[in-house]
């Protein structure tokens, strides 16, 4: 009874940490540029698949992982430079379509150069699992939670302790005012896309030993990250983390106690229910429209 509950909780929190990282990427880009980046999931794909491909080419895992993460970072920077920045004053829907175009493009590239096969990465530790309270705890889950916590802390320090991070925050709050005080907002926006891509890629790498990785994993993971961000209230970093964990737990408990067929529907039902009562998400600020 309790061992079952532990089991579902472990897998829920693990998944939740991944969703939280994707949602943080969404939030970062949304705050900086008000773009919902539907290509966010592709960064996870590049992280996971990139590592697989580099390892196949003979690179040891401790080189393959940073290599894949850098690849995703470059993709994120290029996405902003080549696709988002040139479309400056476009409509919200137009920007959504551009990022969807980008995600199809990236998926297409992966399909050509990396193939359509499903791959699995080896777990980071030799001991695969521990027994806790009668439940099986994968050591990879500990890696995921540890790395996610580390990233969140690092990101927090980046925003509060570094000039660059503060410049990014300032740009998110008021782009015009930020450029008036001398912040190069264009470069800062590119940076936001780069960091979001790094976050996504790390999530993609650390989850790959548990789930599979393939050229098309980005769609569902990206959507769920978007939902996690919306649950927390778009634009709130704390909300994104809470939203991610909530989503992961809800999904795991539904799969365990109710029906695994409808596991993938959970995030969508949850977001509808939340938006029904809280139209701006859990921690979202009330937007005021000026006429």
């Amino acid at each position: 009874m309790f061992s079952e509950f532990f089991q579902f909780s472990f897998s829920g929190i693990t998944l939740g940490a991944i969703y939280a990282l994707v949602a943080l990427g969404f939030t970062l880009i949304y705050n900086a540029s008000h773009v919902i980046n539907f290509a966010q999931g592709e960064f996870l794909m590049i992280g996971g698949m990139g590592t697989v491909v580099l390892m196949d080419a003979g690179a040891p895992i401790y080189l393959a992982i940073p290599g894949a993460i850098v690849m995703a970072g470059i993709a994120g920077v290029l996405l902003h430079k080549l696709a988002i920045a040139p479309a400056k004053n476009a409509d919200v829907v137009t920007l959504i379509i551009i990022t969807i175009g980008a995600s199809i493009f990236l998926r297409g590239l992966a399909q050509i150069f990396w193939g359509k096969d499903y791959h699995v990465l080896p777990a980071f530790s030799d001991t695969e699992s521990l027994s806790v309270g009668g439940a099986v705890l994968l050591t990879q889950s500990l890696w995921i939670l540890g790395i996610a916590a580390l990233l969140v802390t690092a990101l927090g320090l980046f925003f509060t302790r570094t000039a660059l991070g503060k410049a990014l925050l300032a740009t998110s709050m008021n782009k015009d005012a930020a450029s008036l005080v001398g912040i190069k907002t264009g470069a800062i926006l590119t940076l936001a896309f780069g960091i979001a891509a790094l976050l996504g890629a790390v999530a993609g790498v650390i989850v790959a030993p548990i789930t599979f990785t393939a050229y098309d994993i980005g769609i569902m993971l990206g959507l769920k990250g978007f939902i996690a961000a919306a649950i927390g209230g778009l634009g709130s970093s704390t909300g994104a983390i809470l939203g991610g964990l909530l989503l992961g737990l809800a999904e795991a408990y539904t799969a365990g106690y109710i029906s695994s067929d409808y596991k993938d529907a959970v995030p969508f039902v949850l977001i509808l229910a939340i938006l029904f009562f809280l139209p701006n998400g859990l921690l979202g600020s009330r937007a005021v429209e000026r006429v």
Partner: protein, 333 residues
Amino acid sequence: MATVNARTFDTQSKAPGLIGLFVVLALAPLLAANAFHYDLMIKICLTAMVAVGLNLLVGYAGQVSLGHAAFYAGGAYASALLTQNYQLAPLPAMLLAAVGVGAMAWLVGRPILHLKGHYLSMATLGLGVIAAIVINNEDQITGGPDGLAVAPLSVFGHELSVFGSYEWFGVAITGTQLWYLIAAGGLFLAVWLALNLIDSPLGRALRALHGSEIAAQVAGVDTAKYKLRVFVISAVYASVAGSLYAHYSGFITPDAASFGHSIELITIVVLGGMASTYGVILGAAILMLIPQFLTGFQELEMVLFGAILMAVMIFMPRGLVPTIARRFQKEAA
């Protein structure tokens, strides 16, 4: 100034556009050399129908839906199930499907249309994905991922099958040609209805709320009522097109409800040009034709499609037709 007025307020100005559409639809078969070409044209017409309806919601009212495939699939599956399990004739089934889908849209639209911007996109996306998951999982009713066979369309007991051949008043036509007539006729009707709606008080209210919802409210427009109404109308457009497609193809799968299909629909609207009824028809034609031209490249298809999509949206953010129309107006001026 005079041209702007004529565009906006002169209801007579619908005639040239409709005549133009009629001529294009009537002449299009001249380009069709075989059944495959007809098949493509039929699919373009039916997809354009959905897009014309969706454009009312997205282009005119400014409300984004990322889940319209759910309504399309709703029409398709309702038609399939009603004709198969309840022995209903296809036309009443189609009507009942449209009423049912419209009622569903009304029910879900009431709470979610209060949401704004990205939250509305999120909610419609969620509804679409849930519909797709339900259709995939309830395989005892929907056939699951394997799909469902659909009876051919029949009117007063006369079967109109793609595989048949017919002769009326001494003119012999094939089943595919007949279906082109049905699809093209459906599209023409859809456009005519949409243009009338745009010119009606509803259309004016929608444009007002697109400009600024609060300003429209202050001016006395019941924005919630009008948003809901156009949401239901666009859902019914999708439902009817879905029913027609189900009878035409004789087979439907959950792909009809997929997130990808919803994205395809919204892409057509944005690509062709929001708030341009003829633009979205062109958008539908282009989006359905691109893969045909890319088949030679097979592996490259996805990459090229993504690149084209990005390039068009970056360089023509207002969509093809409005951008080109503007350029012509500038040259003329």
